[in-house]
Symmetry: C2
Subunit: 155 residues, 2 copies
């Protein structure tokens, strides 16, 4: 795996961050794609939302059981979005605002500054929309998600 | 990156596969998680849908410009879901039917048999639902997505 670029955001510390894109709706970031991959960005501007796959580069270890930010009980790491997962891959859906050459402007970044980017995929409503779902332990409301900030549990 | 398990599906050849979970709604698969990571599956059954991140292990090369299955024009690879992307990481949202120890039963697999699994994340409606979006070049209807099958262009 090689980084295809770097994610620049307003968040330089692991604590006190928004915990998901929905908690960072107004946070803007820039993605700088390595020049040798910039050809692959063609046509991306047609999409309003994109998936970012990235490396949790500051995750210091693996923990198979964690207490998520939005819960009080220990949960299996694969039932959470904790960075302390095997392979340390992060996934965020962000809003694509614009592209200037090999640079993207995005909104709703819940990502640490200088995070290495592994992949970008378009959010395609016809493929990705889930009409009805059940979200297990996650019972928090929209407002709680918007206001929650990270602490030091995963550092 | 180490595989955390293996994905077993009815699809053993790259051609003639469904091209997305929506095209494979009835296709069932099994995910066998490596015993040393099975503790991390706790609480996953509470979620009706999960993200699978996996290795496109049969992708033979990288192509920065591709013609997607659902289109006739060349597009930047990051504006498509083609396997020929840098880092060869695949992403599918599948329905979780059940768990038996370190084995998951899933539905809607558009994935090649024996694919190495890199990560599982819960689909959390409160985090992941996109209310309004624009899907660029992708103009195909639901029925076309359901019926489309892969050919040999990415082999």
């Amino acid at each position: 795996m090689v980084p295809i670029g770097i994610i620049r955001t307003p968040f330089s510390k692991l604590a006190d961050m928004p915990i998901q894109p929905k908690g960072a709706a107004d946070a803007e970031g820039r993605i700088i794609i390595d020049e040798r991959f910039s050809e692959g960005l063609q046509d991306l501007e047609g999409f309003s939302h994109i998936y970012l796959l990235y490396k949790f580069h500051r995750a210091p270890r693996i923990e198979l059981t964690v207490i998520p930010f939005m819960d009080d009980l220990p949960r299996g790491v694969f039932a959470t979005r904790s960075p302390l997962r095997p392979n340390h891959i992060g996934l965020s859906i962000v809003e694509l605002i614009g592209r200037d050459g090999n640079e993207l402007r995005v909104k709703g970044v819940d990502i640490l500054d200088n995070t290495p980017l592994l992949d970008i995929k378009p959010y395609i409503e016809r493929f990705d929309r889930v009409e009805q779902s059940r979200s297990g332990w996650m019972t928090a409301g929209d407002e709680e998600v918007r206001n929650k900030r990270s602490d030091k549990r995963f550092t």
